[in-house]
Symmetry: C2
Subunit: 332 residues, 2 copies
């Protein structure tokens, strides 16, 4: 059983999961996503994954068989286990609990595509609906407090399988960065009685220098203080703490904004490895005026970040104003 362990000083929870060491390309020196053998995410190879949790099957085909356009399966090498109680306990100065949670894979297409940027607008829209459907389903499980939805594109960004896919982790704790965002946003709200992200949206629309694109419901910007070159955020213009509460029209606009932004990054940076993460409010809390869900996209370029992930301190050689110009200028 994996464990969730808490750093006694900084309060950061970490999953210690030795199951994960059995993954296809987990190696201590090198990762290689072009492993031999059939791809477990391709249509026709459904038996290579654990039985599906959900799938979009426009032709009404039966589960765990071809015919799907998008498929959600448990991670075969899960970081957390779905069964069991939390078992919160101490060990001297330390705190830990059982590694209970969900770890799912969202297979974005039945075709063997290695780049999400090649998906159609309709496929992007389905992907967002799948994220939402899974959040609404897992939201019912009272053990979970947060759902982290993320994508690793490319081996350098942590993908161990080439076939394009996203991941979801449902957690009994709220990750530290989210706690920090909630706290910072609440402090600003108490001081100003406004949402800090709403103020960012207003200022960026007015300034335009860090603006990549906008549509009716979303703004795409290179943030003012980016950790990484070409870091890009997508923010809803309308205030809402919860990704899963967006409207149909908003998901449509978001699928367009997300697809366009990834295509821009692909063209500007020659198909870079990247991660994106959906930042949303913890589960089952009431609506609030201070937190504002959004997506952060982080291309992983070169080895510009050496000590950064250990120190929490970042040096970024590319200004967001420069990266915004590059991204804006991409012809779509």
């Amino acid at each position: 059983m994996p464990q969730l362990r808490k750093d006694p000083v900084i309060g950061r929870w970490v999953i210690i999961s030795s199951e994960r060491a059995k993954r296809p390309n987990y190696a201590l020196k090198k990762s290689d996503s072009s492993r031999p053998g059939p791809c477990p995410f391709c249509a026709g190879n459904e038996e290579a994954t654990p039985p599906e949790i959900a799938a979009y099957r426009p032709d009404g085909s039966r589960p765990n068989a071809p015919g799907w356009t998008l498929r959600v399966v448990p991670n075969k090498f899960p970081a957390l286990m779905i069964e069991g109680e939390l078992g919160r306990r101490g060990d001297g100065v330390y705190d830990l609990m059982n590694g209970v949670g969900a770890h799912e894979v969202i297979i974005e297409t039945p075709k063997h595509e290695s780049n999400i940027g090649s998906l159609s607008e309709a496929e992007f829209e389905d992907l967002l609906w799948a994220y939402r459907d899974r959040v609404l389903d897992l939201n019912k499980d009272k053990r979970f407090r947060y759902i982290l939805i993320f994508k690793n594109q490319g081996a350098e960004a942590g993908a161990t399988l080439e076939h394009t896919h996203s991941q979801l982790i449902a957690l009994p704790i709220v990750p530290r960065n989210v706690v920090e965002e909630l706290k910072g946003a609440l402090e600003y709200y108490k001081y100003k009685e406004r949402c800090v992200y709403c103020d960012i949206v207003t200022q960026e629309i007015e300034d335009r220098g860090r603006l990549v694109s906008e549509n009716e419901h979303f703004l795409v910007i290179c943030p003012f203080a980016p950790r990484f070159p070409f870091e890009t955020w997508i923010l809803p213009k309308k205030h809402s703490p919860f990704f899963e509460h967006a409207s149909k029209q908003e998901y449509l606009d978001l699928s367009r904004a997300l697809r366009e932004t990834l295509v821009r990054l692909n063209r500007a940076l020659n198909d870079p490895p990247f991660n994106y993460i959906i930042h949303s409010n913890p589960l089952r809390e009431p609506e609030n005026g201070h937190y504002h869900w959004h997506i952060e996209i982080m291309p992983k370029l070169a080895q510009v970040a050496g000590f950064e992930w250990g120190s929490g301190f970042y040096i970024n050689p590319v200004t967001p104003e420069d990266s915004a110009i590059s991204l804006r200028e991409i012809a779509l």
Copy 2:
């Protein structure tokens, strides 16, 4: 002039430094530390670096000429500029200041060694004294609040030059991870009236399961909640907030503990890329009972960390108990 910019939500300061993009191997796709041309860090090539700030010259040789055993020079591609005022200012919702600070390189040996593990115990001791000397010197500059001392070993850990070297960045702000550590340690101190790190030292000596080694003044452990496989910490047994206040005997013991630990990591993991960071108290504060300086060593193995550095949430497939066994078993 580089800028220090603050994320308006999370309060994280980031250096935006376009000068850095001119570094030898900064490239958007790939880093390669075996670039052609003479190594600027080798004895005889002193003119290839900016004039030295300090050097250990047992033969009394003149500055910027061969004869040194250790040499400190300004980073040729500094993330921060040493001249100028802080110029704190706002831009709407955002805060920024001039990127004022020191960025120095400590060349650990005149020989072209690519691995710090090949240095002698005496060279390690000199290296620690050099760190201390630089902190005491920069401490006089009232603009600086924190000095970050770190090492990137290997291109995958962010080293752009092969010749083994450490770096130092003096900052007008305290990095977020240090702020968090100070806050967490103070909270524990207020609650328990004890230092949390002192309690960790006591518990780890008693438990022994995560202990790698110890000597009279230092403890080497794999921490309870490590972010990365084989993450290893070196803690002084005696409470002290400041790295630079250690005694001669403590630096001797630390040079042994650090060298031994890096040799263990090299042998256990086949010369892995890694970063180490010295965590010390912010400058010019009085002694305190809650913060406890230490060194954190983070091997960079495979692509196990994809989304982690963006989310602040870590999945680690290797338990610290297992990595401690592997490291303990290495014959020295």
